[in-house]
């Protein structure tokens, strides 16, 4: 066939022309290296005379080299720096005309330090994910391999985690076949070309590190016409719904234009809550999370889930400025931690003891407030009071309600 391509190797020197020793050495930072480049065979012009070295593309000073014999050029490097790339520094021996005769890759670095700060969590008791911190505060300059190992404390063989980097560069995920009610020992081994190091052993029971999904179906709605309250409802995370009788929940909320979240902590194992003390006519974003505390009798704190997706709602508009701050008010009229309501709680408690108004309750209080707001609006319309408090055209004066 016309024009069949021929191999294109004939007119060039190959990498078999010379050999560098040592080939691909591993060295500690700060150490020295003695290397040689020995020319093989007899191609014309390729003697040790005229040879030179480069390291990562930069020509090395001639004073670092010396000719050992007609075919060998030596090199002495001292106080080596850490490797510039993980694939190794390129030490190259060149002929006089600059062509490459041979190469060797240097691996200069530090052995790994002990990994530490191992933390683990289990999602719905089905798996285990662990994270750790590598030991060296700076780089080792060498590729360091981390291996998470685990075993049952009192029996069983060592196992190695296989799914790495699931939650960051130093993490591993064990997807299945985990035992409950029995402790595991977990540790991390770090290995590179210069050695290895092992972390301290972490002992844990899966049930003590359980987390779960965020609560689904979070709904936020107004509480009638109350301009400073919103009602939040959610559903227990379904994966653990049969185990969450001691679960805790947390709510956080913020005004639409703000980045500052307010957190409501004291929401025990309920699936609804009322936020009070909010600003009227304002859009709020609300999120909820769950801590599956007390799973199977575990006494440990449990691990908070991620926050649910933000749900937004707005408080009704009002002409009166709303009170600042807020706290969660549970439905059913239990007292919350706000100062006004705290005093009211004390008052109601006193009333129950010393008076005969046993039917007084927070529900009644809220109804009274709603009535007050409605009659305040009606009064403002009658008196022609504009939102800023200025008077407009008045139809006639009325005494303010007591």
């Amino acid at each position: 066939m016309v024009g069949v391509p021929k191999p294109d190797h004939c007119s060039f020197l190959t990498l078999d022309t010379a050999v560098i020793s040592p080939q691909d050495p591993t060295l500690l930072i700060g150490s020295s290296l003695q290397a040689t480049c020995s020319v093989l065979g007899d191609p014309p012009g390729a003697t040790a005379d005229g040879l030179y070295w480069t390291l990562n593309g930069r020509r090395l000073p001639t004073e670092l080299s010396r000719v050992l014999n007609t075919s060998t050029l030596a090199l002495a490097l001292a106080n080596l720096n850490g490797s510039r790339q993980q694939s190794g520094d390129n030490l190259v021996c060149h002929a006089r005309d600059g062509s490459i005769l041979a190469g060797s890759c240097l691996y200069v670095g530090l052995p790994p330090e002990k990994p530490f700060n191992i933390s683990c969590w289990s999602k719905n008791m089905k798996d285990l994910t662990c994270r750790w911190t590598p030991g060296a505060p700076g780089e080792t300059f060498l590729h360091t391999n981390y291996s998470l190992k685990y075993k049952l404390r009192w029996y069983g063989q060592d196992n190695t985690c296989e799914e790495y980097h699931t939650m960051g560069p130093h993490s591993c995920h064990i997807p299945k076949d985990l035992a409950l009610f029995t402790p595991y020992e977990i540790w991390v081994e770090a290995t590179n070309r210069l050695g290895s190091a092992r972390s301290d052993v972490l002992t844990l029971d899966i049930l003590d590190v359980v987390t779960t999904d965020p609560p689904p179906d979070v709904h936020v709605s107004r509480v009638g016409g109350l301009e400073d309250q919103l009602s939040v409802r959610w559903v227990s995370p379904p994966a653990l719904k049969d185990f969450l009788f001691q679960a805790k929940y947390q709510i956080r909320y913020r005004v639409e234009d703000s980045v500052d979240w307010k957190v409501v902590d004291d929401v025990s194992n309920q699936t609804s809550c009322r936020l009070a003390g909010l600003k009227p006519g304002t859009v709020y974003f609300v999120q909820v999370r769950c801590n599956p505390f007390g799973i199977y009798g575990s006494k440990k704190a449990g691990i908070w889930s991620e926050w649910s997706h933000p749900t937004a709602a707005s408080t009704p508009r009002s002409e009166r400025p709303g009170p600042g701050g807020g706290a969660c008010e549970p439905r059913g009229g239990e007292p919350s931690s706000g100062p006004v309501r705290r005093e009211l709680k004390q008052f109601l408690g006193w009333l129950k003891k010393h008076a005969y108004c046993s039917n007084l309750s927070f529900r009644l209080y809220d109804q009274w407030r709603a009535w007050m707001q409605k009659s305040h609006k009606t009064r403002n319309q009658d008196e022609g009071i504009l939102p800023s408090g200025r008077r407009g055209s008045a139809r006639g004066k009325r005494a303010r309600a007591a």
Binding site: L15, N56, S87, G88, G103
Partner: protein, 197 residues
């Protein structure tokens, strides 16, 4: 079909075959896209090997690569069917070489996932382009393979465990991939109706 219509020498004849037109255009577009990817792969590769691999004028020994040579200077002067046959043969030879490079780079640069992914993609894309070129040849009534070219002797570096020769081999393979994909784009471009004769 008239003799004129069936002739590869007359680009005008090809325009009378709309399905073949479309096939050639499509394959040419694919080759053009893969030329860009091949260049990106080459740049990513040299970056991870360190200097002097990325330096202008870097010219390592032209190690022979088993089963594959670079396009020769006389390639452009060959008739279109033979050029395409050589393109298809090269594209078919590249995937196993790219796999060898990827496996070695997985040891040398384990923290370079994008490089490893590009190498894996390149093997797949080379195969796809080769099949597409063979389909064009079939549509033109030309066998996908001509007489087998001489195989260059297997490169010593292909089996060496030393790192520097492995880096050089990868440099060569990525370079060959870039050359052959670009060559294929050029050869198909000459068949696209309205393209250069």
């Amino acid at each position: 079909m008239s003799q004129r219509e069936g002739s590869l020498e007359d680009p005008q004849a090809i325009s009378l075959l709309p399905h073949l037109d479309a096939k050639i255009r499509q394959t040419h577009s694919l080759a053009r896209l893969l030329t860009k990817y091949a260049e990106q792969l080459f740049q990513e590769y040299v970056q991870h090997q360190g200097d002097p691999f990325g330096l202008p004028g870097f010219s390592p020994p032209r190690l022979p690569v088993a089963g594959l040579s670079a396009p020769t200077p006389s390639h452009a002067g060959l008739p279109a069917p033979e050029r395409l046959q050589l393109d298809a043969a090269a594209l078919d030879a590249l995937p196993p070489l790219l796999d060898v490079v990827r496996r070695r780079q997985a040891e040398l640069n384990p923290r370079a996932p994008r490089l490893l992914r590009r190498l894996e993609d390149a093997a797949r894309q080379s195969r796809a382009l080769g099949v597409a070129v063979e389909a064009v040849l079939a549509a033109l009534g030309v066998p996908a393979r001509g007489p087998q070219p001489e195989q260059p002797p297997a490169a010593a570096a292909a089996v060496s465990t030393d790192v520097f020769p492995a880096k050089v081999l990868g440099f060569r393979v990525c370079g060959l991939y870039r050359e052959w994909v670009s060559r294929t784009e050029g050869d198909l471009g000459q068949l696209v109706p309205g393209g250069p004769a």
